[in-house]
Symmetry: D3
Subunit: 137 residues, 6 copies
Amino acid sequence: MIFITRRERFNAAHRLFRKDFSDEKNLEIFGKCSNPNWHGHNYELFVTIKGEIDPETGFLLNLKQLSKLIKDRVIEKIDHKNINIEVDFMEGKFASTEVLAVSIWDQIEADIRIYGAELHAVKLFESENNYAEYFGK
Amino acid sequence: MIFITRRERFNAAHRLFRKDFSDEKNLEIFGKCSNPNWHGHNYELFVTIKGEIDPETGFLLNLKQLSKLIKDRVIEKIDHKNINIEVDFMEGKFASTEVLAVSIWDQIEADIRIYGAELHAVKLFESENNYAEYFGK
Amino acid sequence: MIFITRRERFNAAHRLFRKDFSDEKNLEIFGKCSNPNWHGHNYELFVTIKGEIDPETGFLLNLKQLSKLIKDRVIEKIDHKNINIEVDFMEGKFASTEVLAVSIWDQIEADIRIYGAELHAVKLFESENNYAEYFGK
Amino acid sequence: MIFITRRERFNAAHRLFRKDFSDEKNLEIFGKCSNPNWHGHNYELFVTIKGEIDPETGFLLNLKQLSKLIKDRVIEKIDHKNINIEVDFMEGKFASTEVLAVSIWDQIEADIRIYGAELHAVKLFESENNYAEYFGK
Amino acid sequence: MIFITRRERFNAAHRLFRKDFSDEKNLEIFGKCSNPNWHGHNYELFVTIKGEIDPETGFLLNLKQLSKLIKDRVIEKIDHKNINIEVDFMEGKFASTEVLAVSIWDQIEADIRIYGAELHAVKLFESENNYAEYFGK
Amino acid sequence: MIFITRRERFNAAHRLFRKDFSDEKNLEIFGKCSNPNWHGHNYELFVTIKGEIDPETGFLLNLKQLSKLIKDRVIEKIDHKNINIEVDFMEGKFASTEVLAVSIWDQIEADIRIYGAELHAVKLFESENNYAEYFGK
């Protein structure tokens, strides 16, 4: 069993809030992250997959294929976008790093199985000081 | 003459566009950075000042003072904000990295002189691949 | 189950030695780290907690709360201090990265439970080339 | 149980290819990594070992010893070398990051046991975007 | 006058040597960098240009254009290549970081003038510990 | 004219204070950096030299020579030491980053001339957020 990881990046706007809260209540719970005019981040995404090394190629999976899969299923939908209002796989969800990490997992897990590998971890940095990791249920 | 540099960070939303352009024209000129729903970045700001070492302290300037000045004049106004619509020193300007670097210079230059030092450079990273620098006129 | 990590930093002096050893013996066992006049490091601390995402907020735990907890229980006691002689939670212990990681775990584990999350890992960098990790007993 | 990690670096040339494939077929499968004239990388290697803290020293293992072991068994054989043609422990193998990580594991595992610790992970970065990890069979 | 910088990366094999020296003499002068079987690096390239901000766009130059120019003139010719034997703009030259930085300058300087900006600096990292900078004659 | 830079690192303890001040006054002026029990840092040092490329080697100066010079004249004297009390070239000086950068310049400038190059800059990071630069008088 070997593990390989691919890093991809995206820049997006978001806001942490609940529609059923007032701006004041959102500020109290979510702090400056609730700013109604949005703020944003350079997100760094690390996708780790696991499986056996293919004796024909020395690869678990060609990283170009893994990169393309992440770009098709995640980056093209979220890069230079507003996470709260125009990313289909985040519709109706909190735009927190935790929820985003789980949602990215759900976007790519099945496709990675098609390639004969298994998704192991989604690690998402919102800043140099904060990240969330999800390893599946 | 010695130079000291302080790094500060802020997260903000922005959009590159002209009001007098259609969304199509903005997309043509500014690419995905023109997204009307905004996107955002983790900005890294490096402020460099120069002057003589104070023989009483061994400092050019206490970095806590420099940090406080940058926070008061720049970070508190722009962090977790939308650069295009709620940052006073960016009003009516393009929210490009170049213009932002010049505007940050204008925000802090006079105050640094008060401390007996001189502003040398404002270096602003929009991403790990792009930055702008301004050294004054 | 989701995992979130918060990075905090501190600068401290320390020395690796045993009181019951001569300076020569300490030098033999601990090398230049045993310098009786101390040396120091910029430590980077990564605290990882795990638990369920709160459906009311989209958070496992608000990272400001986690940051405050780490600051109150660890950073304020050790930052700009001498680890061997003035940090209460290191009293009578070796000031090695390994022992420091375990001691930081002991400082924060119970408090993280109060917030409804569980401490998963303490990862402590002494330099860009060395780090220790502790996952509990 | 404590975990400590040592980072070491090496620069090497390599090529991904199969001798039984034509250059065209190698290009199709391995892309530009199959260039017959070689290319190269700055590899970053993180070796993680685990075990109990020695109550006599506060160490799991003196990192100088771990560093020396990695240098003797891995770095001196591969640094500034061509991985495909002059590294004994890679003879007859694919020069992929996956295979290299496993081979480095095999080079050091037994020696680490001699020191009373256990090898936990070999993590090998080929670039800032790609890495492989091996935790043993 | 504003300065903007774009980072690009490439991986390449090279060797430091003189054809008119024996392998022994090359080893004496160039050390392990003279290995006849090549070694390689992940190079990081920072290209800085200067000029006036365009009042129509807020840009000195659209960074996509700068990135494309660097890719067309430099990266496509050198990435995953052997610098000594298959990079046209390095033919007959030493493959040192210094010479490479100057040669990259010569590859792009004229083209940047076409865009109305001026090349200010080429900064080339061969490793995290070494880089060369060239500012023109 | 080409510029090359070598990075070296050292870990040291220090304290910012004046002997003629009380501990209270030192705390007021120098903050927690005045702790009488010392604190410390991982310093990162970047030494930049300039000159002409040697047509015989393609080098400005062999970086091994530059590295050895910095190690002999600076690193061996300061690494794992207490800057205030056991570093000969800091005797009687403030242990601030500014003064340290100037003092490192004075330690190496003459020796670099012997090699036919010229010292251009000493850049010294005390932390990821602070650095001093000195370019000579």
